[in-house]
């Protein structure tokens, strides 16, 4: 599970049947200072996130457990919208 920022959106017209209606976002993993720290990836969304939001992403097998259909080819899901990240040196948004 990691912190990320939503930087884009992906629209699909043809997908694996179990993924119909799912939202896909492009997310950029963040470090504790709010800086991008790894390659961007595409994640499903169950937290009604939008571009610019700081989010909490669950990856791996557990990513599909957040969806209605739990046996689908998904390896990352946005499971939370981060309102505040209290850092050891400063409070506030990342």
């Amino acid at each position: 599970m990691f912190l990320a920022r939503v930087i884009g959106r992906v629209v699909t017209t043809q997908t694996y049947p179990g993924l119909t209606g799912e939202r896909f976002l492009i997310v950029s993993p963040l470090d504790e200072h709010g800086a991008a720290c790894a390659d961007t990836l595409v994640a499903c969304d169950v937290a009604q996130s939008g571009i610019g939001d700081t989010v909490h992403v669950c990856d791996g097998r557990e990513a599909t457990l957040a969806l209605d259909e739990t046996f689908v080819p998904i390896d990352a899901t946005v499971v939370g919208h981060v309102e505040q990240f209290a850092h050891e040196s400063a409070d506030g948004d990342p």
Partner: protein
């Protein structure tokens, strides 16, 4: 399991229902000597009443975490399962320092 240090806490008002009532921590993996490892920062559910600055045991393995939480269907992959008091490496006490 990994050794890590708590570097932050998260407030997530909109989240998957499996996370309701659970504390979320930001954990930076560390080497046994206390330096930050190359791993990226993890977000983990707190099961050890850990706070910022604590050195902790981090489970980042998936199904074993769901077993610890007793929630087989929760989309949760990482949990803080212990607060570390002491780390000894090759006969030398690495934590607490000094």
């Amino acid at each position: 399991m990994k050794l890590g240090r708590i570097v932050g806490t998260l407030v997530t008002p909109v989240q998957h229902p499996a996370y309701d009532g659970k504390r979320l921590l930001a954990v930076r993996p560390i080497d046994p000597d206390g330096n930050e490892s190359a791993d990226r920062m993890f977000i983990a559910v707190d099961r050890a009443q850990a706070g910022i600055g604590d050195v902790v045991l981090l489970m980042a393995e998936g199904s074993s975490v769901r077993e610890v939480l007793g929630e087989a269907d929760a989309p949760i992959r990482c949990a803080v399962v212990g607060v570390v008091d002491e780390v000894e490496l090759e006969g030398e006490t690495m934590y607490p320092a000094g």
